[in-house]
Symmetry: C2
Subunit: 231 residues, 2 copies
DNA sequence: AGTCGAGGGAATGTATATGATTTTCGTCAC
DNA sequence: GTGACGAAAATCATATACATTCCCTCGACT
């Protein structure tokens, strides 16, 4: 048993989520309550509860009297989520900037330096993990805890369900680490919050735009390009 | 029976949520599964599921082996949520602006005019409902559906759990409707998205700040005032 | 080919047992 | 008499097994 101190529904939750994270359950996979229950040696009720929790997180989709399957993330979903992240995370980073210690900055810079060095033997998954770590260091100190929660939730969902954006656009990596350093400098200088926010949003929007251009050259986020760039 | 076509857990969900909305269940109220189950003439399982859905929406808090109670919204929670709304909604409104029809604008303006006329016999609840309607008209057309979901969720939670902000600061109402008109003009003119976003955010931040000054003159959102104003 | 109906599989719901937590109450020390 | 500690009981969440209901599939019949 994984941990007897956890409730069964919690164990079921962790178990399912782990399978999704390791791609053992890929998007579209049918989650059958009875099967999972037998596998975990429990009745269906805790499993059902776990599944509905995951539904609330939008990690699985659920249909009445039919069942659950691992959520599909189509492009429009992906773009929408990433744009939402860019908006909320940039605000959170700006709000966090005044609470960052010199040690926080040092840590973030050291992560970014690892990213720079990793550009040679480029590994999208590793790079993405480092990228997430870098950004998390910068926004997680945000005094508005709710903003942090929103960013973590949205980001987490994507990393479970989708490959890293750098899998599709490895060329963006070099530009990305350069912008990271610029953001760090802005924070160190105590730049205006709106400038920090704008810089982070441009950085994130740029990465997303690189993906869009590469994968879907004909589409935008639903707006003329010139507007796109401004937001 | 309310509606036989709904699942029991759905009925339980609606029933509980309605009670919270009508203040019959006030924050802190203990939700006892068995009692609710008997009241609704069903077993505890659907009730339990409904409660956990509400937990996922952060409308109730849940403690293992103890039970659920209607969530308390303390000031810091309230401020954090409202700040998050101001950030996301302003972005959503800007992104929606290009999709608004002249009829949408006309409708919004007419709602705002009702608000203006209601300033004489001021009713915080009614005014707040109109306010929500006004803003919803402007952001709900946002092509990024996720942003709309986030705003709706956060806003909905507050209106269930808390009295309108205008209950505390009725004096803000007049200023508010004036800013609404300014926002409408910006949208009509096809102003830059960043300007629309900034205007909406200032508007919302201003309302929140009015509340803070009134209720807690000594506190800020965790930042020096000058930074506060900028974001 | 299209519709109706039977059957299997899986989700939903009930009744009941189990287990954890909180409260109550009685006893003992001060 | 008052306060504190501990045990027992009540309360309620958690989990199981079983029953029911629903949806989908597949095959027969028109």
């Amino acid at each position: 048993m994984t941990d007897a101190s956890l409730s069964k529904s919690q164990r079921a939750y962790d178990w399912i989520k782990a399978r999704i994270a390791t791609q053992e359950f890929t998007p579209g996979y049918r989650l059958v309550l009875g099967t999972i229950a037998k596998e975990l040696d429990m009745s269906v009720v805790p499993v059902r509860e776990a599944v509905r929790q995951l539904e609330a997180e939008r990690v699985v989709t659920f249909e009445r009297n039919v069942g659950a399957r691992v959520a599909m993330v189509d492009d429009s979903d992906y773009r929408a989520t990433m744009q939402a992240v860019s908006i909320v995370e940039s605000a959170a980073t700006a709000l966090a900037s005044r609470s960052l210690t010199v040690d926080d900055i040092r840590q973030a810079r050291s992560v970014n330096e690892v990213m720079v060095r990793s550009l040679d033997r480029f590994e999208p998954r590793t790079f993405s993990a480092l990228n997430q770590e870098f950004h998390h260091l910068l926004y997680s100190r945000c005094p508005n805890h709710r903003l942090v929660q929103i960013v973590d939730a949205e980001w987490g969902r994507m990393s479970h369900l989708r490959d890293s954006i750098f899998t599709f656009v490895p060329g963006r990596a070099a530009e990305s680490v350069k912008e990271h350093e610029e953001i760090l400098v802005l924070i160190e200088r105590g730049a205006r919050l709106e400038d920090i926010e704008a810089a982070v949003r441009r950085h994130r929007t740029g990465t997303l735009a690189a993906y869009l251009v590469h994968e879907h050259p004909d589409e935008t986020l639903g707006l003329p390009i010139e507007d796109e760039a401004r937001l």
